[in-house]
Amino acid sequence: MTKKDKHKEKATFDFNGGWDYSPSPESTSHVKLKERYDLYIDGKFVAPNSGKYFQTTNPATEKVLAEVAQADESDVDKAVKAARKAYENVWSKLSAKERGKYIYRIARLMQEKARELAVVETLDAGKTIRESRDVDVPLACNHFFYYAGWADKLEYAFPNRTVSSLGVAGQIIPWNFPLLMAAWKIAPALAAGNTVVLKPAETTPLTAMLLAEIIHESGLPAGVVNILTGYGDTGAAIVNHPDINKIAFTGSTNVGKIIQKAVAGTGKKLTLELGGKSANIVFEDAPIDQAVEGIVNGIFFNQGHVCCAGSRLFVQESVAEEVIQKLKDRLDTLYVGDPLDKNTDIGAINSKEQLETIRKYIKIGKDEGANMYESSCEIPKKGYFVRPILFTDVAQSSRIAQEEIFGPVLTIQTFRTIDEVIQKANNSPYGLAAGVWTDKGSRIFNMTSKLRAGVIWANTYNKFDPTSPFGGYKESGFGREGGLQGLGAYLKIER
C-alpha cells in the first residue's frame, strides 16, 4: 500500500437499517377462502369419488389455507367423459364468434377479481404481492384476451391451411405460476375449439379453483373446462386416459420424459415445457448497471422458481470484478420476507420440499469449492425462506452450473471470447432461454442466431407477452406456448 492509499477511505455502502420502510401488508379482508374445495367436473363442483382431501399451506407461515379434493382415476374418467360430451354436443357446434365471447367474458371476470386472485396466489404460492399483482394476474388476463381474439379468425391465423380442433386436451401445470400457467393452457385450447381437463400442482391449487368459479360464473357450457386437483397420480391418470387427444405439460424434465414415454404410439398430440439452465451473458460494453438489474431480475424473479431463470451468468473477464461487486451490493438491498408486504422483493420458497432441494444444491456448491456470497438481508424465522445467493469461481463441470436448482441461486463464470461463451452457453442439456447484454446491435443478432435457446432476450430478461411464443430446445421440451405458435399447438393443421 502506498502512502497515498492509506488516507483513502475504504469504499463501502451501508444498506442496512437507517431510514427504512414501515411494514405495508396488502389487505386480505376482501378474500374469503372456503374451508374445502371440490372438483370442477361437468359444470358442477363435486366431491371426489374417494372422499379424500389434502391440505394446501401458506409457505410463508406454514399455516393451512384450505383443503382440496384429491381426484383419482375414476374422477379423471368422469371429467374426460364430460369434456368429450361437451366437445361433441356443444363446443364444437358453437360458432367461433360465440366461443370467443365466452373467453372474453372469462378474461373480464378475472380482471374484476384481480385483487382477490393476486392475494390468493401470494398466500398459496409464497410469491410476492408485487409480482402476483403486477405480473401474474395481468398477464393471465391478457392471455385470455389475446386468444379470445383468435377464436373466430383461425383461418386467418394459418392462411391456405385447413384447421380443425383436436378434441379433449389434458393439461398439467406447475406450481411456480399457478394462475398464469392455467391461462396459458386453457385460453388457446378453448379458442381453438377444444375442451379441457386441467390439473393444477398439489402445492398451489387455490387460484385454479377460483378460476373454476370464474369460469362457472361466466356461464361457459358444462364440461368445456374441468379442473381436478390432486397429486402426480391424478396427472398420470390424465396422461394415460385413452380418450384424450392432446397432452400439454409444464413442469420438470423428469416427469416430462415419463409423459413422453407414456403417450408414445397413442396418437396423442404432445407439448412439453420443461426445465432450464439458461445463460445470461454480459459483455464488457454492456450498460453495466442495467445489466446488474437484469441479472437480478433474471434469477431472483419469483424466488428463482422460473423455468427460464437466468441461472448461469457469464461475464466477460474484463468487467467481471465490477459486475460481481455490483451484484453483491444489489443483493444486500433486496428485501426478503412477508410475500404480502408490498415492499418485499423476494418471497417464500414454494414448499418445504423445494427448500430442501435448494439447500442441497447450496451444500453441493460449497463442497465443489465455489465461493458463496449470501445477501446480508434479514429473513423471517418462520416459513420457507432462503437468502439470495451468488456462487463465483464456478466451473462449467460443476453440478450447480449444470443442474436446474429452481431457486434464488446464481452461478457466475467468466469468459474471454465470443466463441467461448457461445460454446459454453450451448453446452447444456437444456435450451430454454438466454440473455445477451451489450451495447452493440450487430453482436446481439450474431448471438441470437448462434445460441440454441427458445427465447433470447437482449438487454432485458424475463419479459413475457401473450403474443410471443415460448418454449425450448433439447431437454427444455418441445412445442411452443403463446402467440400463433401456441394456438397451432391446439389445432390440426392440414393443407
Binding site: K8, E9, K10, A11, F13, D14, F15, N16, G17, G18, W19, D20, Y21, S22, S24, R130, D134, D285, A286, P287, I288, D289, Q290, A291, E293, G294, Q325, T333, K342, N343, D439, N459, T460
Partner: protein, 306 residues
C-alpha cells in the same frame, strides 16, 4: 468530511459507461412501487425538509424577498413542533451578502449560483469573477453551470478545465456542478458529464437550473447516482447529489429518497450528501406532515408562500 479534489489521473471520458434508457426506466419504476407509510413517511418527510435548498432565482429578486425567504428557511411552520430547518438558501451572487446576514448563525448554508447562470454563455474571466464575488460575499456553496455547447461539441477537456478552475476559485466553498440535463438529450451524456465533473473536483453534481424542462427526472437522477457510486468505489471520495427543478410533490421527493437509499445506502441520506433544489416542495411536505399528525389536509392558505 473528505472533500473532492481535481483528480490527477483522469480517465478517457469518451469511454464513460453506456446507459440503457429502457433499463433505467424499469429500475426507476421499481423505486416508485415502494410503499412509504406511517412512521417511515413522517421520518422521510422531515428528512426531505432538511435536504431542501430553498431557492429563489429570478430577475425580480430583491433583498427584501431574500430576507423573507431566509426567515422561512429558519421557521418553516412554527405551528408544527419538531420540524428541522432547510439545508440552504440558494440565490444569485448579488443576494449572497443579504442572505448571509439574514441567516446569521442559524447553521443554514448560503448557496450561490455562478458562472453566468443559467446559460453559462460567457468568458472564463467573467465566470471566475462571478464565482469569486459570491465566495467573497460569504457563499458556503457555489452552484456552477457547465458549458453545454462545448460539452455537446465533444470538447470534454474544456468542460473539465472549466470545472477545475472554478473549483480552485471556490476555496473553502463546496462546488455543485449543474449539467442542465434537459439540454444534454441522452442518459449516456448525463453519465459522461457526471464523470467529467467528479474527476474535475465537484463536491456535488446537480441536474438542472430549473429554467429548462425536463429537469430532475428520476431517470436522470438515477443515472447520476450510479456515477457517484462508481466514483466512490474507484476513489474512496464521496460526491453529493442535487436534483433540482420539477420536484414539487412529497411523493416524488420520497421516491427520490428510496432511490438514494437503495443505490448509495444510508450514508447519502443526509443533507451533507443529498439536496433537493426546490422552491415549492417545502409547502407540500409541510402539508403532508400536518396531515399525518391531524388526519386532515389543510388548505394551501395555511402555509406561508414566500
Amino acid at each position: 468530511m473528505n472533500r473532492n479534489k481535481t483528480v490527477k489521473n483522469i480517465p478517457d471520458f469518451k469511454l464513460s459507461p453506456t446507459v440503457d434508457k429502457v433499463g433505467v426506466e424499469e429500475r426507476v419504476a421499481r423505486f416508485q412501487t415502494r410503499s412509504i407509510k406511517n412512521e417511515s413517511k413522517v421520518q422521510g418527510l422531515k428528512l426531505v425538509l432538511n435536504m431542501i435548498d430553498l431557492t429563489t432565482l429570478e430577475g425580480k429578486d430583491t433583498p427584501g424577498k431574500v430576507r423573507q425567504l431566509c426567515y422561512k428557511a429558519q421557521h418553516l411552520h412554527d405551528l408544527q413542533e419538531g420540524l428541522p430547518t432547510v439545508a440552504a438558501i440558494c440565490v444569485y451572487p448579488t443576494m449572497v451578502a443579504e442572505a448571509k446576514k439574514a441567516l446569521g448563525d442559524s447553521g443554514i448554508k448560503v448557496a450561490s449560483v455562478s458562472t453566468a447562470f443559467p446559460s453559462g454563455q460567457s468568458t472564463m474571466e467573467i465566470k471566475l469573477l462571478d464565482t469569486k464575488f459570491a465566495v467573497d460575499n460569504g457563499a458556503d456553496e457555489i452552484d456552477m453551470v457547465i458549458s453545454r455547447g462545448k460539452f455537446l461539441a465533444g470538447d470534454y477537456s474544456f468542460v473539465f478545465d472549466e470545472i477545475a478552475a472554478i473549483k480552485e476559485a471556490c476555496g473553502k466553498a463546496r462546488l455543485k456542478v449543474i449539467f442542465e440535463t434537459g439540454e444534454l438529450a441522452s442518459l449516456d451524456q448525463v453519465r459522461r458529464a457526471s464523470d467529467i465533473a467528479m474527476y474535475a473536483g465537484a463536491d456535488f453534481i446537480k441536474t438542472s437550473t430549473g429554467k429548462i424542462q425536463p429537469a430532475a427526472t428520476m431517470q436522470v437522477t438515477y443515472t447520476m447516482l450510479c456515477a457517484i457510486k462508481d466514483f466512490y468505489r474507484k476513489t474512496g471520495v464521496k460526491v453529493g447529489m442535487k436534483p433540482a427543478g420539477g420536484i414539487s410533490s412529497s411523493k416524488l421527493a420520497l421516491h427520490n429518497l428510496v432511490m438514494v437509499k437503495e443505490t448509495l445506502g444510508n450514508d447519502w441520506l443526509t443533507n451533507e450528501w443529498f439536496r433537493f433544489g426546490a422552491s415549492s416542495l417545502a409547502n407540500d411536505v409541510l402539508m403532508q406532515l400536518v396531515k399525518q399528525e391531524t388526519g386532515h389536509y389543510q388548505s394551501a392558505d395555511y402555509f406561508s408562500i414566500d
